[in-house]
């Protein structure tokens, strides 16, 4: 089966310094795969390279078998990959509904009676606040908005860049629960996170990235193995 998303020997440079080198990983259709690692490991860079925000110096990125390397971010978004960026990056001065409507720019199939219905169903809070200015929402609510916005594009693959950053544990629970629900709808997920243990427990498979290179792969069974987690990070 062709993986939904495949990275092959990916290399990304910041100036002369390689931020990511020789990275190969696969995310199968319908899988929820994690990507963890210490600060500066290159996790965000990897996602940016997939979205075409930074150029890949070498290697390939394939969406459902077809290479998307070198394409513009908007064309990649329209091809079916949505990114929930680090720091959420919502448009504070636009309303919640306008933020969601923006996500429709990447939507390929039209015809749904109310394309925003899915996002409202997943996050009822958004429906309640739909007219409110997005900047007035709390951190957790903004995170839900950011995810909802990425979902209205009906993507095949969803990328998330540290969604739990700066959120209280109970909110993180809600976010992770939403991810499970999203996965159940058949969306493939690549989750970049700092919270190693929760990610390893949630994902089908978790890759550990350090210094731009893939160090090891963990399964949910390893979630309680603190030694292994520490070893992965400190290598």
């Amino acid at each position: 089966m062709t993986p939904a998303l495949a990275l092959e020997d990916l290399e990304v440079l910041y100036g002369p310094v390689p931020a990511v080198r020789g990275l190969s990983l696969e995310v199968g259709k319908g899988e929820l795969v994690g990507l963890i690692g210490p600060n500066g490991a290159g996790k965000s860079t990897t996602l940016h390279a997939v979205m075409g925000v930074v150029p890949a110096a070498a290697g390939d990125v394939r969406l459902d078998g077809a290479s998307i390397r070198g394409r513009t971010p908007e064309s990649i978004a329209r091809a079916g990959i949505s990114l929930v960026p680090e720091g959420r990056r919502i448009f504070g001065e636009l309303s919640v509904e306008d933020n969601l409507r923006l996500g429709l720019s990447a939507r390929r199939k039209n015809g749904a009676v109310d394309p925003l219905a899915d996002a409202y169903a997943l996050f009822p809070m958004l429906a309640e606040f739909r007219r409110r200015q997005a900047g007035a929402l709390s951190g957790g609510q903004q995170q839900q908005l950011a995810i909802g916005r990425a979902l209205v594009a009906a993507p095949a693959v969803l990328l998330l860049d540290e969604p739990s950053l700066g959120l209280a544990p109970t909110i993180v629970d809600a976010v992770f629960a939403a991810l499970t629900a999203i996965r159940e709808r058949g969306v493939t997920i690549l989750l970049v996170e700092q919270r190693a243990q929760r990610t390893v427990a949630l994902a089908d498979r978790t890759y550990v990235l350090a210094n731009g290179e893939l160090r090891m792969t963990l399964t949910p069974a390893d979630a309680d193995d603190t030694d292994k987690l520490i070893q992965a990070y400190l290598q």
Partner: protein
Amino acid sequence: MIVAAVDAQTLVDAVGLGAVYALMAVGIGLVFGVLRLVNFAYGQLVMAGAYTLAFTSDWPIAGSILACFAVVIALSLAMERTVFRPLRTQSPAVMLVTTFAVAFLLQSVALILDIRDGTIGEPATSIASLNQAIAIGGVDVRKVTILAIVVAVVTLALLALLLAKTTIGLQMRAASTDFRTARLLGVRADRVIGAAVLLSGVLAATVAVILTVQNPLVAPDFALKETIVVLVGVVVGGIDRLWTATLGGFAIGFATGVINGALPTDKTVFLPSAVFALVILVLVLRPAGLFARTRTTVADRV
């Protein structure tokens, strides 16, 4: 200190001038919003429109105006393609200097085209009839002043509607705030930029028509002074957001109109110095603009 005589006539004319400047400010502000580029050559778009009206003087009015819009829009899009696009990665100051060069370039091209008949300046006669005045309540209001105000109000209202209610408007607003994230959501950069440039061109053509009615003799420096004043007004108002830029443009136009109308000519020789000194004062105190929310600036280097 002389007591300025500000009568109804002066006020109406000042509002008219403010209206025209507001339109230009929007044109400049739209492009800045999506491209972070100050188009110093904006005045040359207006000039090109004016020359088109002059060179088509013997056409029917509607045809002349249509030609004006066509030429200005084409020139705007060409400018975007050849100058703005390659410059997108440069600092705002480099972009400013380049548009400065383009402004000189276009002005000189106009000079070459104009001077073929031996004189500088081409009259645009077909629409000059709108320059006649009608009396409203004892005040001599020129038809074109009413036209300017009405057109400005309608245009700005339509634009506000477009930005608030349409998809492309929403995309433009988002792109002005955070272009990268907008692209990640699938917003097509080229389409948004093209829309902004197109609208900006339509506004420039509108201004060209209005200004040409008021000053039918078109020379290569047509609208140059106005552009400089509008640019100053836009930066003083706050270029980062469309409504502050527009307000700045209107304010400086209105103020110029009032002062010019109120003071006798021999007292106005040092007016430019006073105005520009005020501009410096405002910029030193509030570099991001009078109406801006924050005090931070668009800092950069050459």
